[in-house]
C-alpha cells in the first residue's frame, strides 16, 4: 500500500511541480508525460484490483470470505471501495503534499487549481474504469494468469477492433486526413486526448475545459458500463469457480468469439496483403484456418485436454458464421462507401487535401486571445474550415473518372482527399485517384489548385499577416538541395516582406507551372524562439529561389 501510494505521489508530484518553472513544462514534454501518467495509472489500477480480488482464484481464501456472515453485495462493495480508497487517498495526499512543498504559494491561482481538479477527475475516472475492467476479468476466470490475459484483451478490445476495421476495410477515405480524426471511443484514447490539453499550462483554460467536459461524459459512460459489468460478474460468479480457468461455463462460447473473430479477420487481412495472385481466395482460406486453430487452442485451454478441442466443432462453425458475416458486412459497407460521388446539385462546395503536399499543411498555428502562439492547428480541421472551392464540375469529373479506372491501372496515380459540403448541410469525405498523365485530368486539377482560394485554404500565411505582437525570432531560407540555411532577419517586418514575395510567386502554383517540380527550398518563420514556425514551400521557378 505504501509502495502504491509512493508511485501515485511521485507522478502527481510531477504534475504539480511542472508548474513551478517560470514557463511551465515545454509543450513537447507534455505528451510523453501524459503517456507516462496513463501507463502508471493503468498499471496501478490493474495492480490494486488484482491484489484485492485475486482471492477469487484461491479456494481457501474464497471459502474464508464467502463463509462470513455478509451478503455478496456488501462483500463486493467492501472490496471495491477498498481498492478505490487506496488510490483516491494516495492521490489527495500527494496533491496536498505537492501543494505544500512543491509549489511556491505565489504561483497558486485559480487557473492552476482548475487544472489540478480537472486532471484529478479525469485520472480517477480512468483509474476506476481500468479497475472495473480488471475486476470483471478476474470474475471471468479462476486463474490469475488467465484473469490477467482476459484483462489485457478487454482493456485494448476497442482499440483491437478499430485496428481490425482499419485493416479489413480498404475504405476510399482510409488514411484520409479528413477522416483520421474519428471520435474517441477507446478508453485510452479518451483519457490521453483529454489529459493532454488539460495539463498544458500554455493552452487557455477555456480550451482545456472544453476537452475536459467532453471526455468526462465519455469516461462516465465507460465507468457506468464497466461498473455494472464487474458488479454483475462478481455477484453471479460461483464460488467454486476458483477451481476452473473460466468461471462461467456458458461464457466459453462468448470468450471464444471475442478472441477468434478479430484474430481471424486480422490474419485474413495480412494474408491478403502478402499475396498478389489469388489473394482473395487466400484471405478466405486464412480466416477459416485461423478460426479453426484458435478455437481449438482455446478449447484445449478451457478443458485442459485436446480431446474436447477436436470434438467441439459447433463453436468453430458459430465462429466462422460470425467471421464471414462481419467480413461480408464490412465488404458491402466498404463498396457502397467507396462508390459514393455526390450529384452536381447536391454539392455546395468542397475542399481538397493533397497528401503528397501534406507536410506543408501542418504548419498553421493556434493563437490565444492575446496573440500568443501555443500550438499547431490540426491540418484537416484547418482545411475543412478555410478551403471553400466552388468549381464543382472539376471535382465531380475527377471523382467520376476515379470510379471508372482502378488506380493500379493508372500511369501516374495521384491520391486526393476530398471533403464534400452538401446542400443538405451534411458533409462527406472520400479519397479519389487522379491519373496525372491524362491532360484533361491535369486541366481539371489545375482549375482546383490554381485559384487563390485553394492556397488560402492550405497556408495560413497566404492570407494572414504576421500578428502585430508576435515574437518573430528568426526568418530563414532553407535551401533543401544544398541543405543550407540563410538567415534573412527577424521581426514581423522582415517576415511580412518575405511573405509578400512568396505570395506573389505562389500565384503561378499549379501542375503546369511551378508545382510540377519538387520543393527546392523552404521559408521558415520562427515564433517564440523556434518553438513554433510557419514552413512555406519554394519551387525552382519562383523568384525567391532565383534571387536567393
Amino acid at each position: 500500500m505504501f509502495f502504491v501510494g509512493l508511485i501515485i505521489a511521485s507522478y502527481c508530484g510531477r504534475l504539480m511541480i511542472r508548474h513551478t518553472g517560470v514557463n511551465g513544462m515545454p509543450f513537447y514534454e507534455v505528451e510523453p508525460f501524459t503517456l507516462m501518467i496513463a501507463v502508471t495509472t493503468g498499471v496501478i489500477a490493474v495492480g490494486i484490483a488484482s491484489y484485492w480480488f485475486a482471492y477469487l482464484h484461491s479456494t481457501r481464501r474464497t471459502d474464508f470470505y464467502h463463509s462470513l456472515p455478509v451478503t455478496a453485495i456488501v462483500r463486493f462493495r467492501t472490496f471495491y471501495t477498498g481498492c478505490l480508497l487506496v488510490y483516491v487517498t494516495g492521490l489527495i495526499l500527494s496533491i496536498v503534499f505537492s501543494l505544500l512543498f512543491g509549489i511556491p504559494v505565489t504561483m497558486m491561482d485559480i487557473n492552476l487549481a482548475a487544472r489540478i481538479l480537472m486532471a484529478g477527475v479525469l485520472t480517477i475516472l480512468f483509474f476506476a474504469t481500468v479497475m472495473n475492467i480488471t475486476v470483471y476479468a478476474f470474475t471471468l476466470s479462476g486463474n490469475i494468469i488467465i484473469g490477467l490475459l482476459i484483462d489485457a484483451v478487454l482493456l485494448f478490445y476497442i482499440d483491437l477492433w478499430e485496428r481490425v476495421i482499419d485493416l479489413t476495410c480498404d475504405f476510399a477515405a482510409y488514411s484520409s486526413f479528413f477522416v483520421t480524426k474519428r471520435p474517441d471511443i477507446s478508453l485510452i484514447d479518451i483519457y490521453l486526448h483529454a489529459i493532454y490539453p488539460t495539463v498544458r499550462s500554455d493552452v487557455s483554460l477555456g480550451v482545456s475545459a472544453s476537452a475536459f467536459l467532453g471526455a468526462v461524459i465519455k469516461l462516465l459512460i465507460w465507468f457506468a458500463v464497466t461498473y455494472r459489468m464487474c458488479r454483475s460478474g462478481y455477484l453471479n460468479r460461483p464460488a467454486e469457480a476458483s477451481r476452473s480457468l473460466i468461471a462461467f461455463y456458458s461464457s466459453h462460447l462468448l470468450i471464444k468469439l471475442m478472441i477468434v473473430v478479430p484474430v481471424a479477420l486480422l490474419m485474413g487481412n495480412s494474408t491478403y496483403h502478402s499475396f498478389y495472385a489469388y489473394r482473395e481466395t487466400m484471405q478466405i482460406i486464412s480466416m477459416i484456418v485461423t478460426a479453426i486453430v484458435v478455437s481449438m487452442f482455446l478449447e484445449a485451454i478451457f478443458s485442459r485436454s485436446l480431446k474436447p478441442a477436436l470434438r467441439k466443432w459447433g463453436s468453430i462453425i458459430v465462429s466462422l458464421i460470425v467471421i464471414f458475416a462481419t467480413f461480408g458486412i464490412t465488404r458491402i459497407v466498404e463498396n457502397r462507401f467507396n462508390a459514393y460521388v455526390p450529384k452536381y446539385d447536391e454539392l455546395e462546395s468542397y475542399a481538397v487535401f493533397n497528401p503528397l503536399d501534406s507536410y506543408y499543411y501542418g504548419f498553421n498555428l493556434k493563437y490565444d486571445e492575446d496573440g500568443h502562439v501555443y500550438d499547431y492547428l490540426e491540418p484537416s480541421e484547418y482545411v475543412k474550415e478555410h478551403m471553400v472551392l466552388p468549381d464543382e464540375k472539376a471535382i465531380l469529373t475527377l471523382a467520376a473518372k476515379s470510379q471508372q479506372t482502378d488506380y493500379h491501372d493508372m500511369s501516374s496515380p495521384l491520391p486526393l482527399h476530398v471533403y464534400y459540403r452538401l446542400t443538405s448541410g451534411g458533409s462527406r469525405s472520400r479519397q479519389i485517384w487522379v491519373d496525372m498523365e491524362d491532360e484533361e485530368n491535369r486541366a481539371m486539377l489545375n482549375r482546383i489548385v490554381g485559384p487563390a482560394y485553394y492556397k488560402e485554404g492550405v497556408w495560413q500565411a497566404f492570407d494572414h499577416d504576421v500578428p502585430d505582437d508576435a515574437n518573430v525570432s528568426s526568418v530563414d531560407f532553407h535551401d533543401l538541395r544544398a541543405d543550407e540555411y540563410i538567415h534573412l532577419g527577424q521581426g514581423s517586418g522582415t517576415a511580412e516582406d518575405i511573405l509578400e514575395v512568396w505570395r506573389d510567386d505562389m500565384v503561378l502554383y499549379d501542375y503546369d507551372h511551378i508545382r510540377y517540380d519538387e520543393v527546392a527550398a523552404e521559408i521558415e518563420v520562427h515564433f517564440d524562439g523556434g518553438l513554433y514556425m510557419w514552413v512555406l514551400p519554394v519551387y525552382e521557378d519562383m523568384s525567391l529561389w532565383e534571387d536567393h
Partner: protein, 205 residues
C-alpha cells in the same frame, strides 16, 4: 435444525451431488462420511452457504442459508484447510470474528487457548498446521454460533491433536449446546464423538 432437500450440484459436466437430502439434529454431532470424491467437501460448502446448489435448498432454522446474513450469523464454517490472513495474529483474527459474529466470546477463546496451549500472540501463519487447525476450531467455538460446520480437518491431524479437537467439540456440545456437522472420511477417527453418521455415496457417471 439444518435440513437439506434434494441438493444437486454439477461441476461443468460432472455431477458431484445428486438429490441429497438429510436433516441434522440440534445439539448433536452429525458426521458425514464417504470415500474421496464422494462430495463431502462440496456438501459442507453448500451447507455453509459458500456455494449455491444447482437445485435443492439448505434450510437452517426455517430460513435458506445462501446469501442470507441472518442465517449465516448462526453458523460457523471450518474448511478442510482454513485460510488465515498471513499478517494477522490469533487475537487480531479473534477481533475480526468478533466484528462478524455477535456472540463471539473472547473469554471462551482465552480459556481454550490456555487449556490447549494455543498462542494468541504471533502470526497465525507461524503456527504448526495442527495447532492452526485447533486454533481455528477454538475460534469457531468461541463464535458461539448455534451450528458449527466442519470439513475433514481431522484426517491429517496428529492423533493427540485430534483427541484434543474431539474433546473441544464434545465440551462445546455439552456446555454451549452447539450443533456440529462434521465431514470425515473415516468416522472411527473421531472415536465415540459422533451421535449420527450419514454416508455419502459417490455419484456414478
Amino acid at each position: 435444525m439444518i435440513e437439506l432437500s434434494n441438493i444437486t450440484k454439477h461441476f461443468d459436466d460432472k455431477c458431484a451431488l445428486n438429490r441429497v437430502s438429510a436433516s441434522f439434529k440440534e445439539g448433536a454431532v452429525s458426521v458425514i462420511t464417504g470415500t474421496s470424491g464422494s462430495g463431502k467437501s462440496t456438501l459442507i460448502r453448500i451447507i455453509g452457504g459458500i456455494i449455491r446448489p444447482d437445485s435443492g435448498v439448505v434450510i437452517v432454522d426455517d430460513m435458506p442459508i445462501y446469501d442470507n446474513v441472518t442465517t449465516q450469523k448462526r453458523l460457523f464454517v471450518l474448511p478442510e484447510k482454513p485460510y488465515c490472513p498471513s499478517y494477522e495474529s490469533a487475537s487480531e483474527l479473534a477481533h475480526f470474528y468478533g466484528s462478524m459474529y455477535d456472540g463471539f466470546s473472547e473469554d471462551v477463546l482465552k480459556q481454550l487457548s490456555d487449556r490447549y496451549d494455543l498462542p494468541l500472540k504471533g502470526r497465525m501463519r507461524g503456527l504448526h498446521p495442527d495447532a492452526r487447525a485447533l486454533m481455528m476450531l477454538a475460534m469457531g467455538i468461541s463464535a458461539s454460533t448455534a451450528y458449527l460446520v466442519c470439513d475433514d480437518m481431522f484426517t491429517a491431524m496428529d492423533r493427540d491433536v485430534r483427541t484434543m479437537a474431539c474433546e473441544m467439540i464434545s465440551e462445546a456440545r455439552r456446555d454451549m449446546g452447539t450443533t456440529f456437522v462434521v465431514a470425515v472420511s473415516d468416522p472411527s477417527l473421531l472415536g465415540d464423538l459422533p451421535d449420527y453418521t450419514y454416508e455419502l455415496e459417490t455419484v456414478r457417471g
